[in-house]
Structure formats: C-alpha cells, structure tokens
C-alpha cells in the first residue's frame, strides 16, 4: 500500500526543464481518531520512550532512555563514584536517544505510520534500537497512526531540480550523518557546522536513512524541514543550514525522487552451531543475560517493584513474569498467554528451547521475516550475535548447570 501510494505520487510529478513538482494531495491529512487514539497511546505507553506524545511524563525508573541520558550527562542521582559512572557510560550504548513524536501530523503520512507500527524496522542505522513490535492489531495501528498524524495541514507542493539538489546534498555534507541506501549520492563532504562531539553523536544516531523519506514524509514538509528544521520538528536535532526556499526545494526533490537501487535481500541466518566446549552459567549470565536481558526481565523486589516490561508488563503487554536476573528466576520460566507457567529451558519438538527460540526469532525479524507466534528478543534491540546465541543454546543443551564450587 505504501509503495503504491509512493508510486502514484511520483507518477503525478511533472517535469519541466529538469524541475519536478510533487503535490501533497496524494497524502491527505489523517481522519481524527478522537479519544480512542489517545487511549491507545496511553495503553501502549508511548510516553515511556517518546517525548511529544501529549501524555504526562513517566518516572525515570519506567522511562526507556532518561536514566541512560543522565548517566551519560553525568547528572545521574543518587551520586555514584566516578569510576562506576565511567563504567556505566562505557556499557550503555543503546537507548540513549528516541525520536520525538511532537507535530508528526505536519510531516509524516498516516498510512506509513500505520504500516510501521505493524511491522517496525530499522530506520536510523546508527540508533541501534528500533521501535518494538507491539501487540497491536490493524485497527489499533490505524487508530494510533491517525491520532499521531491528525491536525491541520496546509495542502502544498514542492517544485525543485533534483540535479541541483544532488550537488547541494554533497556540499552540505548530508552524508556525514545520513545514510541514503540505494541512492547515487555524492560522497560525504564535511558539514559546514560546529557541533560538539556529543551533539554530533546525537544527531548521527537519530539521522534516518533517507531511503525511507519518500514513503514517510509529505513532500512539501521535506522542503519546509530543510529550510527550518525546528518549525517541523520542534525538539529535533537536525541542524539548520540556512537554506533558501529554492535550495531546500531542490534538495527535497533529490531526496524524494532520485532513483533507488534495490537493496540486497537479507536472509535469515542459519541457527548457530553449538559450541564444542563446556559453557558455564557465569558466562551466560555476564555475556548475555546481564548485558541485555535484564533491561526488561529483572527482579521487581530489587527495583522498587519495576521488574521490567517482560516481567511485570507494560507497552500494552500483559505481565509474563520472566526474571532473568538470577539462576532460579531463569528456571521459573514464563507465563504463557493462558496464564500457565512454562519452562524457558525445556526444548520443544524441534529441539529448540524457548529461550533460544526468541533469540533466533529476532534474527529473523531483522531479516524481514517473522516467526509465527514468537516475538523476537531482545525486543526493539539488535539481535544477539551468533556466538552469543550459540552460548545460550550450548549451555542449555549441556544441562543448564550452575557453576560448581
């Protein structure tokens, strides 16, 4: 659907002396979804990660990134020793930035938001984390998308010269932060900006792959954004380059219409081979569970009741009671959707333990596939490396033993 709409928009484009016009008419404003949209926003707890939702902010302990940001800014409370803070700063890589949802209706297409909610995928190559695959149906996604993108919008169009835009793209150093997969874009020149390393890292991590822009954005909003980024994304990180209306339009037309080569097909990786050596519990705990899984599957008693989304529920998910913060907790398994406890370690008919199955499913999701009935883990984070999955798989196959004395 998204592709068809995009093709229709391009088909409507007129070409005159190298100039192309794209009309917003192909992307009408979303129909209002009223209170139901707001209720869904609250149910899926969009405000636990995103600013700009219109919902009240949540406590730091329940927020996706605030704690991480405070650690990196050195403002974390209660104060911890400098060495501890430095160690945390080194460890915390993901979930440091999340895009704002403020004023989405002025720039994003409702049908794209709906499709993205149903099948999230990586948009920002340097961000690492992606939108998690929530437990929402088509109606939920449509209603949420409409709520997020509704609002007054002036119908407009953008006319520009893509060739000139391409030159401008190179001169402005857009490729310093943005990838543009499949496009024949100029090599990255230095961006004529003075950013601190932190500002640069933040801008780069939130910079989307521009390949998706023609599917995501309303055409005239791209040009408007390039002229005055704060007008379209009030709390965004895109710097202002002081572009004229003409330069912005040229650049927008380049981004929106330059031919894109198809991307290489991503294949689901084969199941990693088990290791030939003994694997210790302490290795699994330190390399996998503590590094990644504890985020959402921890012990509520040790965290003032907040055991993470994968334990006590959240983001619209029911509590699953998974506690990977201890050996005993791992053995306690998971609450099934029917409320029965099931082992995470007992292999299924295919010989794969449920704990390994969700790790493999995340690999598949990254390749654009989906494993029926299984939500890939870690949710919204990059799949574990094959050797890490092999570590867990091997440890379970070897009897899931605790380390001896």
């Amino acid at each position: 659907m998204v592709v068809l709409v995009a093709l229709a928009a391009v088909a409507r484009a007129r070409s005159h002396r190298g100039e192309v016009t794209l009309d917003d008419a192909a992307h009408p404003p979303a129909m209002a979804s009223g209170d139901e949209g707001r209720a869904l926003l609250a149910r899926f707890e969009c405000n636990r990660c995103h600013d700009g939702t219109g919902l009240a902010s949540v406590a730091r302990e329940r927020h996706c990134v605030r704690c991480h940001q405070e650690v990196h800014q050195g403002t974390f409370t209660p104060p911890v020793p400098a060495a501890t803070l430095a160690r945390w700063q080194q460890h915390i890589v993901h979930l440091r930035e999340v895009p704002s949802l403020a004023a989405l209706g002025s720039r994003l297409r409702s049908e794209w938001v709906e499709a993205y909610l149903l099948a999230p995928h990586a948009l920002r190559p340097e961000l690492g984390a992606t939108m998690p695959r929530l437990a929402l149906n088509t109606h939920d996604a449509r209603t949420l998308a409409r709520w997020l993108t509704e609002g007054p919008r002036v119908r407009a169009s953008v006319t520009g010269n893509g060739a000139r835009g391409r030159t401008r793209y190179g001169a402005l150093g857009c490729g310093t932060c943005h990838q543009f997969s499949g496009a024949s874009a100029p090599a990255a020149a230095p961006a004529p900006l003075s950013l601190t390393p932190d500002e640069f890292a933040r801008a780069r991590s939130l910079a989307p792959d521009l390949r998706s822009t023609r599917d995501r954005w309303i055409p005239s909003a791209v040009a408007a954004h390039l002229m005055n980024p704060r007008a379209t994304v009030p709390d965004g990180v895109m710097p202002s380059f002081g572009l004229s209306a003409g330069d912005a339009a040229d650049l927008a037309i380049f981004v929106l219409t330059t031919p894109l080569a198809p991307l290489a097909t991503r294949h689901v990786p084969p199941r990693p081979a088990r290791l030939a050596r003994p694997v210790r519990w302490s290795e699994v705990e330190s390399r996998v569970l503590r590094r990644t899984c504890w985020h959402c599957h921890s012990e509520p008693d040790f965290a003032r009741g907040e055991g993470g989304v994968g334990n006590v529920g959240g983001f619209g998910f029911a509590p699953r009671g998974v506690n990977l913060a201890s050996y005993e907790g791992l053995y306690a398994g998971v609450l099934s959707p029917t409320g029965e406890r099931e082992s995470l370690l007992r292999p299924g008919p295919d010989g794969v333990a449920p704990l390994v199955r969700v790790l493999l499913a995340r690999q598949a999701e990254e390749a654009g596939a989906r494993v029926e009935g299984v939500r890939g883990m870690p949710l919204g984070l990059p799949a574990l490396a094959p050797d890490e999955i092999a570590l867990v798989d091997t440890w379970i196959a070897q009897g899931a033993r605790v380390d001896g004395e």
């Binding site: 911890v80 230095p190 640069f200 990644t292 040790f302 965290a303 201890s326 005993e328 605790v402």
Partner: protein
C-alpha cells in the same frame, strides 16, 4: 574541519561496543547497599552456605519474624531466613531468635517458616520460585510432607523446580516409591542446579 568530522564518524562507528547493559537491577545493586547485601545473602543460600545466608539476610532486615506479606527487600530477607530454617531442621545455631534448644522450638520455627513462605507465595502468584520454596518447606515437615511432595512433583513435571534442594526431595520421594529411573532423573537435575553436586545423594530411610 573535514578531518574532525571524519574522525568523529570513525570514533562513533568503531569505538563503542555494540552491546546493551541491563539496568534496573544492575543499577539498584550498585546504588542501594541493601539490595547488594540481599543479593549476596541469596547467593550464599544458592551456594549452600545456609547459615551465612540467614545471618546476612537478618543484617539487612532484622525483623523478619513480623513479616506477614509485602514486597521488596523485606520479602526477600524473610524468604532466605525461612528457607534456611527449613533446611537446617528448624534451628539456626547462634542466631538470636532462631536458635532452637528443644523440639518444640524447632517445630515453632518450622511452622513460622511455612507461614512465611506461604505469605511470600501468596504475594507472588504463579511464581515457581516461591512455589518451589513453599513446597520444599512443606515436604520437610512431617505433618505436611504429602502436600509438599505433591506440589514438588507438579512443578517437576513441567521442569519448573527452581532449586537443587527441591530436586533432591523429588528424587527421595521417587526412590521411596521404587521409581529408580525417575529418581535418577531428579538427581541429575539436582546435580545440575547445585554448586555442591555431592549433596545430591538419596538418603536411605
């Protein structure tokens, strides 16, 4: 300028490890001394340093006797002390309030342990850790052994027994019922989950 951006790009791309580090428990363990101490107590219990575990838990939460249900550190301390009382036959030698000099005191302590683990389990519905702990305590008490063994077998059938001590009880129950092969399976699980696999031996009645 160009060099600066290229250098920054290379730094951001290559220098940062591509891993996430879990927070919540990880942070609390470092910023809240009670959480760290309580986790140490639990690890001592898992490592069969039962008396040490109870002492450590009582240092964090001395008033476990009054636990009637609740959450947080108090619940975890009560669990550790109750399990220690259970595994040491109703007495914690040298521990004020839990050192029994008579059978009556042992029985009173064991009864408290069962009541405490019942309260813990009621606060953690459908949690196999709490269910295993309570079943173990019931199985170690002659008056409630049947109920405890029934609960342990139900957990074992779903591979949801969460301690080596409980698996050993399962093995003993199966051995008493002349189910040698099933008893050996339970002993295998005991050995896998124990830091001291030598403990996994069925005692002859």
């Amino acid at each position: 300028m160009r060099f600066m951006f290229l250098a920054l790009t290379a730094f951001v791309s290559l220098a940062v490890p591509r891993t996430a580090s879990g927070c919540l428990n990880g942070v609390e363990l470092e910023v809240d001394p009670e959480v760290g101490a309580m986790q140490s107590a639990e690890r001592a219990l898992t490592a069969n340093r039962t008396l040490d575990a109870a002492r450590a838990a009582l240092r964090v939460s001395p008033d476990v006797r009054s636990f009637r249900g609740g959450t947080g550190i108090a619940r975890r301390a009560a669990r550790v002390v109750a399990l220690a009382v259970t595994r040491l036959g109703g007495s914690l030698p040298g521990v004020s309030g839990f050192s029994a000099r008579s059978d009556a005191q042992r029985t009173r302590n064991l009864t408290w342990a069962i009541a405490t683990l019942t309260a813990v389990a009621q606060g953690r519905a459908n949690d196999p850790v709490a269910d295993t702990d309570l079943a173990e305590a019931l199985a170690r008490n002659p008056a409630t052994r049947g109920e405890g063994m029934r609960r342990l077998e139900a957990l074992a059938s779903r591979e949801l027994v969460t301690s080596a001590h409980a698996w050993l009880l399962v093995a003993e129950g199966r051995a008493a019922a002349q189910q040698a092969a099933r008893a050996e399976l339970a002993l295998d699980r005991c050995r896998a989950m124990s830091r001291s696999p030598a403990m996994c031996v069925v005692r002859r009645a």
